[in-house]
Symmetry: C2
Subunit: 359 residues, 2 copies
DNA sequence: CTGAAAGCGCTTACAG
DNA sequence: CTGAAAGCGCTTACAG
C-alpha cells in the first residue's frame, strides 16, 4: 500500500543491535541464541536493544549458517479422489494434532500435499527447508520403500505413520492394527454374527488394512470358524469405494450377517448401500468401521469402530522426529487401540430388545 | 544410522554443477531459475549436470539472497478449547483447501497454531520464513486490528479470512454472512416459525456472527415481525457452548419454535440439549446451523445450514495473497453462500406429513 | 566472557 | 549470452 515507506526501511540486522547495545555482532548472536558463555548483564543489554528495535533473527541467514531450520515437514500423501475437495477426516485430525505437537516443541510445520505418483523424495530435507520429515497417508507403501531407503541413505531424518512391522525402512509410528482387527471381529462374533464380510484392500500394498484383516482372520480361527474368501472385497478408504464394495458383495450373492470395514469412510459407504437395498443396520447386518472419525458417532446408526488416538499419535510422531534430529536413538512404536461399541454392531442385543419391547 | 557416511558426504553446491557443466556458477544459478538470457544449449547442460549429481538448490541460501521464500504462512487462531484435541471442523476443512491451493500455486505452506493471547505479529514475515501470511480463525478481531495495522505498516503481505466489512485493515476474504443469516431466517419463517432464537455472540467482537445476526434481524423486520432480545443467547463455536446456550435459553422461560445457531457446532450442541429435555427437533423446535461441516449431514435429524464453499475460499485466499506478493492490486472479496435445507428445519412440512401418513 | 574474521550457498548488478 | 565479484545476515571456530 505504501511501497516507498516499505522500501526505504532497510532491514534491521544484528549489527544494529550490536551498535545499540555496545557489543560486537557476534555477541548479539550468542546472546540471542542463549549461549551460556554470555554474561547476564550483556545478555540483558542485547535483549533490550533487540526489543527496542523490534528485531528478529533472519531465519534464512541463520539456517544457512546454522544448518537447522526449526521446521518439520509433513508430506501428506493422498491420492486425488473423485471428490477431491475433502481430505480424509482421519488424516485431517492427525494434521491438527501434528500441528499442535510441533507448536509445543517449538517447531513450525511445513505442509506439503503429495500426490502418490510424484517424485517427492528429493524435495525437502535436501533443499534444507526442514530438519526432518513426517510421512503421513495410506497408500501403497511398496512404492515408497525404495524412496525411503534413498532418503535414509542421505541421512534424512524421517518418521512414518503406518503399520509397524519388522524391517521397516524408517522409524514408524502406528496403531496396533492387528489387535484392532481382532477386537472388532471378536466383538461381532460375540454379537452372534457368523458370516463377517471384510471390506478393504488386504494386500501388502496397504499394510494397515492388511494387519486389520490378519487380526480379523485370527479371531475367526481362534473360534474355529472357517474363512470364506468370498467375504473379502477390496476397497480404498472412501465412502464411494465402500458403497461400491458393498454392491459388489451383494452381487456375489454370498450370505453375510456383518460387515467389518477397514475404515469408517468405507463403513459409512457400506451403510448407505445397505440402506438403499432396504437392508437394516444393525438388525439384518451389523457394521463396524475403523478410525473413529468424528462422523462415526453421528451417522445413523452410530458406528462401532476402533479409535486411533490421533492426539497421541501426533505427539509421538513429532517427539520421535525431534529425537532423531538430535541424534538420539528412536524405535518404532505401536500405539494401543480402543474398540468403541456403538449401535451399528449391536446385532444380538437389538434382536433381544425387539422381542422384549417396541423401541 | 550411518553418521560416518553422512558426515563425509559434503553438500553438492552450484559450484559442483558449474564444474561438471563447464560453465560458471552464476550461469548455473541462472539456468536453474529459468533466466531467459541463458541459451537453450547451456541450460540443458546445466540441467543434465544437476540431475546427474542429484542437486537441489539450497533454499536457505537462495532465500537469503533472493528475498523470497516460496512459502506462505497460515496463522491459525483458535482459542484453547476444553477438549483441545479437535480443531473446529470448518477450519480443518479450510486448512485442507488452503494446503491444496498452495500446492497448485507452487508454494509451500507453513502452518502455525496461534493462541489468541500470544504476541504473534512479529513472528513470520519479519523473520523471513514466509512471503506472506494468511490469518484464519474466528475470534476477537478487535484485538487483532491493532496488530494487523502494525503488520501492514511494515509492508507484510497479508490476507484474512473473516467478515468482509468496510474499512478493513487488510484484504479480507469471507462469505456473505449477512445474506446467509437472512436466508436462514426467511426459510424458518417460511416454515411457519415465528419465535426464532439466535445462538451466537452477536457483538462486534465476532463480526461474522454479528453479520449473521444482522441478516436474521433484517429478515424479521422485512416481514414486520418483532425482535425479542430475550431470544438471543451468546455462544462460541463449540458443541459445548451450544448446549450451554440452549440450557440458558430454556431457563429464561421464553417461548421459541426455532433455533438459528451461528455455527453448526452450536446447532449440534443445541439439538443435544433439546433432546435431553425431550423436545423434538424439528417437530417442536426447528433448528438451523451455519458452515455445513461434514457432520451436519450426518446428525439426526440432518442439519439445515448455510454452506460456505471452503474449496473456493482456500483458492481465493491463496490467489489473493500471491497477487499481493507480486504487488498486484487485490480487493477484499465476499463469496456467495448457499442455504442447505435438511430435515432439522422442516417444521411445517413435518406437521403436514404427520397428518397425511405415518413415516 | 568477548571480538575479529571466515564462510554458509546462493542471486544479481556490472562488465564484456 | 556469460563470467568475476560482491554480499544477503547470520554462526562459530579461533584468539585472547
Amino acid at each position: 500500500m505504501d511501497p516507498v515507506r516499505v522500501r526505504s526501511k532497510k532491514r534491521i540486522t544484528s549489527f544494529d543491535i550490536a551498535e545499540l547495545a555496545g557489543v560486537s555482532q557476534a555477541t548479539v548472536s550468542r546472546a540471542l541464541r542463549g549461549d551460556p558463555s554470555v554474561s547476564g548483564e550483556t545478555r540483558r543489554r542485547v535483549e533490550a536493544a533487540a526489543t527496542a528495535l523490534n528485531y528478529t533473527v533472519d531465519k534464512s541467514a541463520s539456517n544457512l549458517r546454522g544448518r537447522l531450520t526449526g521446521t518439520l515437514a509433513l508430506l501428506f500423501f493422498e491420492d486425488p479422489t473423485p471428490d477431491d475437495s475433502r481430505i480424509n477426516p482421519f488424516f485431517l485430525s492427525m494434521l491438527g494434532s501434528i500441528t499442535r505437537a510441533c507448536a509445543r516443541h517449538g517447531y513450525d510445520l511445513l505442509i506439503s500435499f503429495q500426490e502418490l505418483a510424484r517424485d517427492w523424495h528429493a524435495d525437502f530435507a535436501e533443499s534444507k527447508k526442514a530438519d526432518g520429515i513426517i510421512l503421513l497417508g495410506y497408500g501403497d507403501y511398496l512404492t515408497h520403500t525404495s524412496r525411503l531407503e534413498k532418503l535414509r541413505a542421505r541421512g534424512t531424518k524421517l518418521v512414518c505413520w503406518g503399520a509397524v512391522l519388522p524391517e521397516q525402512p524408517c522409524v514408524t509410528i502406528g496403531c496396533d492394527n492387528f489387535s484392532g482387527g481382532r477386537s472388532v471381529t471378536e466383538h461381532l462374533l460375540d454379537q452372534g454374527c457368523r458370516r463377517i464380510a471384510f471390506l478393504g484392500d488386504a494386500s501388502q500394498h496397504f499394510p494397515e488394512f492388511q494387519e486389520r484383516y490378519r487380526g480379523h482372520i485370527q479371531a475367526l480361527r481362534t473360534r474355529g470358524l472357517p474363512v470364506d474368501e468370498a467375504l473379502q472385497v477390496d476397497a480404498e478408504s472412501s465412502q464411494h469405494s465402500g458403497r461400491r464394495a458393498t454392491e459388489a458383495l451383494l452381487a456375489r450373492g454370498v450370505a453375510f450377517d456383518a460387515i467389518f470395514a477397514a475404515s469408517d469412510l468405507i463403513a459409512i459407504g457400506a451403510i448407505g448401500a445397505l440402506s438403499e437395498q432396504g437392508i437394516d443396520v444393525p438388525f439384518e447386518v451389523a457394521v463396524a468401521g475403523y478410525d473413529d472419525i468424528p462422523m462415526a458417532s453421528f451417522v445413523t446408526p452410530a458406528l462401532t469402530t476402533v479409535q486411533q488416538d490421533t492426539q497421541r499419535a501426533g505427539e509421538v510422531l513429532v517427539d520421535s522426529l525431534v529425537r532423531l534430529i538430535h541424534n538420539e536413538p528412536v524405535a518404532s512404536k505401536m500405539l494401543p487401540m480402543k474398540l468403541i461399541v456403538r449401535r451399528s454392531s449391536l446385532w444380538q442385543e437389538i434382536v433381544h430388545a425387539e422381542c422384549a419391547r417396541e423401541d
